[in-house]
Every structure is written in structure tokens, then in C-alpha cells.
Symmetry: C2
Subunit: 716 residues, 2 copies
């Protein structure tokens, strides 16, 4: 899906976030029930639009006229909340459609999450949405909150926050109502304002990606957060992520279901398909999505982003008041991929002049407990270190005594006076630390007590920034295929039945059309043709039986290597035919492939797979035992950009083999990256390819290229 | 070192922990200075013994007579604290020795941590300790605190805790004074009592392992904690750890210096050798030491241990009030190796009867927000699930509203009524959560807000318990070597110069003495001897040049494989001699090794290395490209028990190869485990072996054993 297409579709979401009028079908005035909460909250918050309670059992509710049906509502209704039992839901939807309602939020549960009967009704809901163009949030959801117009169309967020330090900051999308509400509460308490909050429910119509796209386009939202269990339409998700990237909005997602036991629980939770962890991990990398592992980390990332200070690189300086703490922090930074950088000599000299003799000016800097007794010392040291041009971010760890804000205020000044992020780790008695953290939070200075979350947050943001930089510098599409490639391949693939398999010979012709180097080879229909082909190719050659019906040709005597003379070719031809007859009686044999023998090279595999959510995937790995013993395969969703291809090779466990072991010259990784991109083009151009395996791909030394020695294509 | 030996030595530590009398050399009455803090604190806490301030500048201090020198103290002095400047320290020590003081704590800094001059004085201190038998803590340390006798011989712990929930619980040893003091503060605040606290400083005499051993033997200490940067004497550490294991005391250590940048910082911090992460990681596994990654995790582990409820296995049940939270928790449990177990059908049926329809009774159990409105529901569900015999531990996650202790009190009852650990994860507004955590803490019920630390703590303790179980069941020594092995090997190794290398032939004779299978082979001094040897061995054979001076025989034409006839043997012999002459002119050649050709097998390596701290190490890995590309080698410190050997093979990345890939039969891992243990015996018996490499070790299919195809020994 193109981003332009998605943007057009997103207009249809406006009635759900910025309606002029809201009807509540099944409304009550009980503030403890989902049916009563929106009415109470819309009134109390001062929603900027008309409110129409609908319930035949009341004439008025909270002093508003209550209407017997949606039809009876005098004016136009843009958004309707449905809070009636499941058995009345379809009827309510039909009435909304008749009334011309544009947006619907269904609180009601009892659909796909309870079994097949519920799933059938949910399909009706989806169908109605498609037919009428009504956009539906839910069912089985907690609804939507929007801060600007005070839209309390939900039963999770029922009060406007008292104090907002950063207004309209975060748009949050949750595939778990309960967990989402808990997150809302914790983030709100820190003073981070929500632009919107959506509980998506079962996603009968609108899905996670719609809301992601909407918040990307929304001019107020600065950061997008989410709790994600599974995506329905991979292409839409990628387009929405592209929109957020284009608008420079960080996406911070908690993705559940990494392990099978959790994925199963998630599937039963909302009836959603959770999908493969490997594919999600790939798409997050490809779209610069920051994967958040915990609420604590999420909180700390927001506090760094709120100050608009994302680390420009991964070089960290550590200041701590004890040697041991510095050592511990250095370990944790290294563990998360931050570089505990060497400080400049000038920086160290200046520190040495300020600090006592027993301090250490090497990074981690031991500023000693002298900062407790020397007023202004912490500020001077911190200012000096953050000014070091080799430093991208700083972690400062110190002890706080009860009621003492001296060091805190120094660090607020330093933190406000630099464009680099500074994280304060504050230790001490419980109450003192809490007071200190509140004090820092009020000043929007990142601070915490636990080290792990803070360092993970810094490391993830540094990585995100690096992603943005390379995104600006390199193409996000694979290199184009050669002219005519698509047409040539289409001719080879046309008319193939579902499940059809191409022989090695045919598969390689498809590869060749896309400019992927393959072995020199000819298909021979008889022994003498084989001899002629061998003479043309040059001895020695390999002989391979070609038949769509012979799958594992090596295992059944269908391959002969190192054939060196015309006599051996004739004898080989005869043996291949004999073996085919013995092992595969009745198989239709197309002939014998006469193929050049390749010089030694590193064996790799490159291929195409299919994911039910994200479509074509491209994989690359080291061949043979590495794949089998270590599952050492990197995967990306097509299209695979040049950057993605490079990252794929870099993340292989056995990548040292490509660098050249035991004095071997390094392998031609550029050729492999090129082939990965060509394979990606092929995958995109022909969604009908279910599987492609180049196995082995021989990779020669740098500058000498690579060559597909065997290949297989299976159609969907 | 034997544990009996260490136990004897530990008697000498009594004066440092339970002295009848304490002198403070350089005493003052300034409560803000290290020289004043012990005097003030000993008096205020009511130390149970005599206190003698020593300082020629005072007649009295805090109403106690102050003595001009240690000599002038009227009675005997068991323990002296030295708090004078560095230049007076040696003089004070000599006076202490003259007075017959048994234990010394040196606060003073300015020794090994500041450079070579300081290091020289520190060596003097060590020498004096060895000569006089005085035991010394420090220098550059914060001293010792002991709770029973109220020994405040330090300047970190200067007040007795007000409230102790679990008295005499934890003995803590810190190689960082500042970080140790911070840890003391945080743990104390939670109500966990310290039996002892030691800041070890530069360890001129007593080292980390002494204190570890002392606390293992101390009848009051129940758990031993520590902050560790580096060990000086590996054997002593292992003996001390064995004592703690024998006494059933968990060891929880924070080990810093995992990454190089941190290790360097640690080295400059106390001038200590930090050593190799790989070796520490091995020794922690071998001794069941629980590696703690953060203070938060340490805290939570203590709260689980304090209740005497260590998980018996790794099967966890999760109860959460929202589906999403359950999914998240399941992911984290799986990530840390806990099994989110399938609940029994009876358990699920009982839950289904209690919970609303939209709840999920599969693990993770979604108990829904119904627990907020149905009194007693949480308790009933939790009791039912923890009673499931397939469940070893439980995590219960719920929301707490301000001032509401209803659910908390239910969980206190459930937690107190079971022998299995239950961890409460409590979410909600900040103040409510804090109040709730305090409430749970008072009842000694494990509870936290952050999920990660809690799950790591549970997983680490489950693993510890598993270690204890296998320790009870299996030997902790390698299988014994064959009779006469040591004598035979000694004869082969005697008289070798330092750095001497044994040829393959000689090295294999050593292996053979220890019952390690080697290739059938004979050393031939001429072509005809070689032919005779080949006839005896059986064709085909391998021919290898044997010379102590030819290191990489394969690379310089010193190996010929698959030699099949007498003629080929003669020709091969000639070529080997020619190549030796060409590539290694002047090398003393001992002959040609005529060796059987082994059938195909999995190539492994097994060897001996040396660690400067822990001595002989044994390593095992998959051969060839796996070692080179992946550094896929497992390591243990000798002696390597049968359990250790099994764990070594299990932790190899390429272990699937041993299970049998592509329909291959599984390899004979029992034979490899046996060889690892024999190599361990050899390493222990001959500390003079600096390096041993069996490379390759051919491993055949299960039941067919393994065989050393090549070997090398280098002497220290």
C-alpha cells in the first residue's frame, strides 16, 4: 500500500476523533458502568460538540433529553457509541447506517473473542462497514479519548488530567484495554499529555495501522506509542509507519507475543493472528520502530524525547560518586551497545584540576563524594564533560540526602543548558529519592532510580537516531531490476498451476532475467547433445537430472559432479536416466542439465518466503551446517533496501566467515547485497512466488562476485 | 585449597568480627570524619567490649581516656582501627604488632590505588601481616560492621537500624566502599538485617574469599551478598564457596567488569586484577553462585529468600487482571527460561466456576477486573492455582486503588499459607503503589512494581535450586584417572624445560596414560620402519613429520593423508624429510609418525588453558569453522565434575550437530564428557602443563566413542 493511498483513507477517521456530535446508544447515568461513563465524562470535561443520549427507557439523562432511538435524534450524528448488549448490536448498527452516522465505537464484547458464533456476527459488522463506509472502532474495546476537543468517548479515561507538563504529546494505541488504561494512568501521572488514546478491541473494521497513520498525520501528536499484539494488514502497517517516519515522529511500541506461550495467549485474547516474531523483529528494524520492553522504559524514553534531546550517537560519558558505581554503569552501557568513550585530554585535565586527588578522570569518571561537600562542583564537572565533543550523552549517578536539592538544581541547570541528553540516576533513602525524582520531573529533566531501564532507553534512542541518519542518506528501495526483467520472468512463470515447481534450469532463467548470476549451463535432451553442451561449457562439468517431479535430486542419484570427458558424459547421462527410472518411475524427465563446475567459494543461501501478514520476505544466511545447526538466517520484509541488505549480512552469527578466516580473502559481500535486492524486486513483482531458494549461492572473494549454483521456485 | 584448610585459617578472622576490645588509632570525636565515626558509633550503639581511643593530641575523647600510643593502652587490644595519614600507617602497624594486636582495619587510603610508590608500601603491609600473623582488613576500606556485638568498626554504617524485620539475615562483602554503603542503606530500609558488613578495600592481607568463608561458617548469617570486582586467589574463593554451599547459604554476587571498559575502570579503582569474564562466568556456574545484575534484583531476591520460599522448579503460573498484562508477563517469563505451565484441567474447571465468562482460565490466567468488585475472589483464585501440583511459583499482577488493602490482605494470606513463592506485581497511582509495597513488605510478602527484576529474581532462584538438587545427586569431582596414570604421565613429562612443546606422538602417550583414546600409531625412524609400521596399522595410513621444532606441520607439507601402499609410504617418507629440510632447516626431526586413518566423525576440540587467578581451565568446542567463526567454546575451571561436563556440551551454540543433523546418528556425547573429565584430572595432576589441545577430537556415533586425532602439549 502506498502512503498516498493510506492518507486518503485516513480522512474517514476524522469523525471518530473530531466529531461535532456524539450519540450514546444504550446510555445510562451510572458513572460506574461503561454505558454511563462517556455521558458523565463528556459533560464534566466539557466536550466541544453536541451530546445525544439514546435509550428508550429514559426521557432525560443528567438533564439532557434522551432519545428513544438514533433515528429520533433531531440533528446529524457524526459519532455513535454503542453500549448495548451483543444481541442488539447489529440492529443498532443498521439504525446508525440509516441515520448516516460516520463513525462508530462499539464497547460491547462477545464477538470473535468468545468463539465461532461471535466471530460470525463480527464478520457481519465488518461487511456492513465495508458496504456503508461507516468506520468502526471495536467491538470489545474501551473507546477513544481526544484531548483537544475533550472527547471522552471511552470508559478508560474518564477524567481530564489535572496537570499536564507536556500537552498533546503522546498518541497511544492499545490492543489491550486493561493494559492500555494502566499505561494511561502511569504516563498521565508523570505529566505527559495524551493527544489521543485508542483502545482498538477486536478491530472488525479499523485496525492498529489506521490509528497509527492517523496519529502520524495529526499535527499535535509528537510521539506515537502502542501496545501491539498483532497486525492484520502488513502493507497498511508499513505505509502507516512510513507516514510517521516522514513526519519525524518516533514510534515506541510494546510488542507482546514474542514467545509461543505468550503468542497463544494473545491469540485467544482478542482472536487476533499474532504472527511470527522474526517478521515483526524485521519490520521494526526496517521502519525504525523503537521496541519497548517495559512500561518503565517507555516512561523514561518519553522523558528524554520530551526534552527534545535524543542522543546523536552512541558515545556515553559516566559520572558517578563512587568507583564501584561507575564500573557497574560502564558494564551496563557496554552491554546495551553504548560506547563508554575515551574523554579528550583537555576534558580530563580540567576535571583533574577540579576534583580531589583520589578521583578518577577516566570515563567512568569517579567524581567522589566531594560533590556532597563542595558546592557547585557537580555542576562544573558535568558541564565540562558534556561539552566534550566526543560525548553524545551523559549519565550522572549520585546520592541524595533528604530535602537536599543542591545537586538536583545544579543538574537541572546543566541539563537545560545543553542539547545533549543527560540522565540522572539518583540513589538514597526511598522518600528522598521519590522527592528528588518528582523535582526533576517537574523540570522535565530525565531521572530515575533504576539503572537498567534508563540505559536501555538511551541506547534505543541512540539507535533510532542512527536509523534516521542512514534513512536520510540511503535509498529505502532496492536497486532497480534490469530493463525487461519483469516481462522475461512473466513469460517464464505464466500459466503455472498453484503449487507448481520450476526445475533448477527454469528457476535460474528467472534469476538471470533479474540480473542474478547463475552457472553456465545447457539442457540436453540426449547423450550426444550433452556431450556437445559439455564441450561448449568446458570440462569438468556437473550433470543433473531435470524433472519437475524429482524433488531431492542429490539424494536419489540425480547429480554427478566433476565429469571430465565425452565418455564420462555419455556414461553419466545413461546413469542419470537409469536412476530416474528406478527412483521415480513415470516421472516426466525434461533432460539432463550440463553445468559448469564452480571454483571454491563460501556457500550461502538467499531466498523468498511468505508471511501471512506481511507478504513476501527475503532471507539470507550461511549455507550448509550453519543454517541447520544454528538457524543462522537473517530475514526482512520486501522491499529490502540497500541498508537492510547490509544489516542482514551484519547480523549473521557466522559473519566472520565472510570477512575471511584462516587467512582466506574476504568474500564479495557487495555482490551478495546486490543479489538480495534483486531477489527482493523479483518477490515484489511476482507475489505468486510462494518460495524461492538459491541454495547454494557460491560467493567468491571480494571483486569476484557470486553465482547461484542451484535454485528452486515454488508457485502459490 | 581444601575447605578444611580454609576453615582453620578462618579462626584468625574472629578478632575482626568479635573482638573483646577495640583501639582507634588517630581517633577524633568529629562525627563527620572517618577518624571520629567509629568512636561515636561504638559508644552510641553500645559496643559490647572495651573501647580505647589513641591520639597523642587528646587526654580524653567523648569522656573516655585517650591514650598517647597503642603501647600505652592498659589492657589487651584485640582489634585496632588505623585512621592516621598514609605516611604514619606503617609505624602504627609496627606498634600494633608489638602490642600483640590480632586484627587490624586500615581506613587510610593512598596505597596500591594511587600508583607504584603506594603499591610498594602496600607490599610492606602484606609482608608484616604474613610475618606477624596479624590479620588486616584494607587499606583504603570503610571497615567492618557486626550486628550481634554492635561492632561499628567502620565509617559507612554508623547507626543501628531502627527496625529490622529479619534480624542477622545478610552478610555483605563489598569491594567498593561507596557502592557498598549505598547498598547497605537500601537493604536496611527494606528491613533486612545485616549480620556483618565488610568493605574490603585494597585487600593487602584478607581478601574477599576470607570474608565469604567467614560468613559461610558464621552461625547467624543466612544469605551472603557481595559486590565483586576481582578475586586474588582462585583456589581460596572456590573453597569458600564450597563452605557456603555445604552450609546451604545462597551466595548473591554482583560481579562488575564483564566488559573490557568496565574491567579497566575496576582495575584502576582498587588496583585489583579483574580477570576474564569467561572464567568468572564458569566458576559462578560451577559453584551455584547467583549472579545479580542490579540492586533492585538483589532486593527482590532477598525478599523471596527471607520467606524461605525458593521455587522448587521453573514452572510458573501467571494471574493478571487484564489479558494484555498476562501476555506481557508470559513473554518475560519465557524470556528468562521459566515455563508458563499448562494448568491441570481440575484447576481450570474450578477457576471457570469462580470467574466471569469473559475471563481466561488458561495460563496466563485473565482473572479480569472482577476482583475489584467481588470480595474474596482474588484469594480464592490464587489459592486454587498455587495448589496445582504442576505449579512451582506464581506471579499475581493487579491494580491497587488508593488506600484499598482488600486485595493486598488477601494475597498476604495466600502467600503466608503456601510453601511456594508468590510474587505480587502491583500497579496503580504512584503513592498507592508505594503504600501497597510497604504494606506487603511489612508482612514479608514479595512484591514490586517493575516486572523485569521480579521475574529475573524468580528465574535465578529457580536455577539455584536446580543446582542444589543436581549437586546432591551427582559427584562434584571428575571420574578418577586410571591406576598408574599419574606415574606414567610424570615419566613422560619429567625434566621438560619451561616452554617445552611435546610432539603429537609424545602428547598422545600422555593422553593414553589417562585413558583418553588416541589413534593407533607408531614412530618410524626410517622409510622401511615406516612401511613395517603401516603394515601393522593397516592401510590406508597418515604420515606426519615429528619434531618439537616444527609447529604447524600441515602448513609446511609435514602431513600426508590416505597413504595406501608400501611404495607410497616410502615415497611419502622421502617427501616429508625433504619438506622438513626445506621449510625448517636444522630442525631436529624425531621421525615420521605412521598413523591409522580414522573413519568420518564430528570434529571437536578439547583442551587445557591457564587462568592467572583460577589456574587450570578445561575447554571444549566444536572444531574447525565453529571455533573460528563463532568462538563456540565452553570453559570450566578444573576440577570439572560430570555435571559441569554435561553443561559444557549443552551450552555450545552448535550443539545440534552433536544431536545428529540431516538424518545423521547422534554423536557419542558420553564419550566426550568422559574425555573432558580425564583432561580435567590431567590438568589437576600436572599444573606444569600450560596448554593442551586435542584438535581434532573425532567423535563417532553414539556407542562408538571418540578418538584424539592430533594433540599438542606446551609446558609452563
Amino acid at each position: 500500500m502506498k502512503t498516498t493511498e493510506l492518507r486518503q483513507e485516513l480522512n474517514s477517521l476524522t469523525p471518530l476523533f473530531r466529531p461535532q456530535s456524539v450519540a450514546i446508544i444504550g446510555a445510562s447515568e451510572n458513572p460506574f458502568k461503561p454505558s454511563g461513563q462517556p455521558l458523565v465524562a463528556l459533560l464534566r470535561a466539557g466536550f466541544q460538540g453536541a451530546i445525544y443520549p439514546v435509550n428508550p427507557r429514559h426521557n432525560t439523562l443528567l438533564n439532557l433529553p434522551c432519545h428513544p432511538s438514533i433515528e429520533a435524534v433531531p440533528g446529524q450524528v457524526e459519532l455513535a457509541i454503542i453500549a448495548v448488549p451483543a444481541r442488539f448490536t447489529m440492529e443498532a448498527l443498521y439504525q446508525c447506517a440509516a441515520k448516516g452516522v460516520k463513525g462508530i465505537i462499539i464497547f460491547t464484547s462477545g464477538f470473535a473473542e468468545v468463539g465461532t458464533a461471535g466471530a460470525a456476527i463480527q464478520r457481519e459488522i465488518t461487511k456492513l462497514a465495508r458496504e456503508t463506509g461507516m468506520r468502526i472502532c471495536g467491538p470489545n474495546c474501551m473507546g477513544i479519548f481526544s484531548s483537544r476537543n475533550r472527547l471522552m468517548a471511552n470508559f478508560a479515561v474518564i477524567e481530564l488530567p489535572e496537570k499536564v507538563l507536556v500537552p498533546d504529546f503522546l498518541g497511544f494505541i492499545s490492543q489491550s484495554g486493561g493494559f492500555g488504561a494502566a499505561i494511561y494512568e502511569v504516563i498521565r501521572e508523570k505529566g505527559f499529555g495524551f493527544s489521543h488514546f485508542v483502545s482498538t478491541g477486536n478491530e472488525a473494521d479499523l485496525e492498529f495501522s489506521h490509528y497509527l497513520g492517523y496519529m502520524a498525520e495529526d499535527p499535535h501528536t509528537r510521539v506515537i506509542g502502542g501496545y501491539l499484539e498483532g497486525i492484520k494488514d502488513g502493507g497498511k502497517f508499513m505505509a502507516a509507519a512510513d507516514l510517521a517516519l516522514d513526519r519525524g515522529k518516533p514510534m515506541l511500541l510494546i510488542k507482546a507475543g514474542r514467545y509461543e506461550v505468550a503468542a497463544k495467549a494473545a491469540a485467544s485474547h482478542t482472536g487476533a493472528l499474532v504472527g511470527s516474531e522474526k517478521v515483526y523483529s524485521a519490520i521494526f528494524k526496517q521502519k525504525g520502530i523503537i521496541r519497548v520492553e517495559s512500561l518503565e522504559e517507555f516512561n523514561l524514553m518519553l522523558s528524554i524525547i520530551a526534552g527534545d534531546r535524543i542522543p546523536r550517537g552512541n558515545r556515553v560519558a559516566i559520572l558517578a560518586t563512587s568507583g564501584g558505581s561507575g564500573v557497574m554503569l560502564a558494564d551496563k552501557c557496554a552491554h546495551h551497545g553504548l560506547e563508554v568513550v575515551r574523554l579528550q585530554e583537555e576534558t580530563r585535565a580540567d576535571l583533574a584540576a577540579m576534583l580531589p586527588d583520589f578521583a578518577s578522570t577516566a570515563n567512568p569518571v569517579d567524581i567522589t563524594s566531594a560533590i556532597m561537600t563542595s558546592p557547585g562542583l557537580l555542576e562544573k564537572c558535568a558541564e565540562r564533560v558534556i561539552a566534550d565533543p566526543g560525548v553524545d550523552m551523559m549519565i550522572v549517578a549520585y546520592w541524595v540526602a533528604h530535602g537536599d536539592r543542591h545537586n538536583l538544581d545544579q543538574m537541572i541547570r546543566v541539563g537545560s543548558g545543553t542539547s545533549k541528553p543527560i540522565f540522572n540516576l539518583i540513589w538514597g533513602p526511598d522518600q528522598s529519592v521519590r522527592d528528588a525524582l518528582n523535582h526533576m520531573n517537574e523540570a522535565l529533566i530525565p531521572a530515575a532510580r533504576e539503572t537498567d531501564f534508563a540505559i536501555r532507553a538511551l541506547a534505543s534512542l541512540a539507535q533510532y537516531n542512527q536509523f534516521l541518519q542512514t534513512r536520510r542518506q540511503t535509498a529505502d528501495k532496492p536497486a532497480p531490476a534490469p530493463a525487461g526483467a519483469r516481462e522475461k520472468a512473466a513469460a517464464l512463470l505464466q500459466g503455472l498451476a498453484p503449487g507448481a515447481r520450476l526445475t533448477e534450469y527454469a528457476a535460474k532463467q528467472v534469476l538471470q532475467a533479474y540480473g542474478i548470476p547463475v552457472t553456465k549451463e545447457e539442457l540436453a535432451a540426449g547423450a550426444e547433445e550433452a556431450v556437445a553442451a559439455a564441450e561448449k561449457t568446458g570440462y569438468p562439468v556437473a550433470l543433473k537430472i531435470m524433472s519437475q517431479e524429482i524433488l531431492h535430486k542429490t539424494d536419489t542419484g540425480g547429480v554427478i559432479l566433476n565429469v571430465s570427458t565425452p565418455g564420462e558424459v555419455r556414461e553419466g547421462y545413461r546413469r542419470l536416466m537409469e536412476n530416474a527410472g528406478a527412483h521415480h518411475p513415470g516421472a516426466r524427465v525434461e533432460g539432463v542439465l550440463v553445468q559448469e563446475m564452480l571454483p571454491a567459494g563460501t556457500e550461502m543461501i538467499v531466498g523468498i518466503g511468505k508471511d501471512p501478514v506481511f507478504g513476501a520476505t527475503v532471507l539470507a544466511g550461511l549455507g550448509g551446517i550453519f543454517v541447520e545447526a544454528l538457524e543462522d538466517v537473517a530475514l526482512r520484509v520486501a522491499p529490502v533496501s540497500p541498508r537492510d541488505a547490509g544489516e542482514m549480512l551484519a547480523e549473521l552469527k557466522g559473519r566472520k566467515i565472510l570477512d575471511g578466516l584462516r587467512g582466506q580473502p574476504p568474500a564479495d559481500v557487495e555482490a551478495v547485497k546486490d543479489i538480495i535486492q534483486r531477489v527482493s524486486r523479483l518477490a515484489e513483482d511476482f507475489p505468486g512466488i510462494a518460495e524461492l531458494d538459491i541454495n547454494p549461492l557460491f560467493v567468491f572473494q571480494r571483486g569476484k562476485g557470486a553465482c547461484a549454483a542451484d535454485a528452486l521456485i515454488v508457485m502459490k
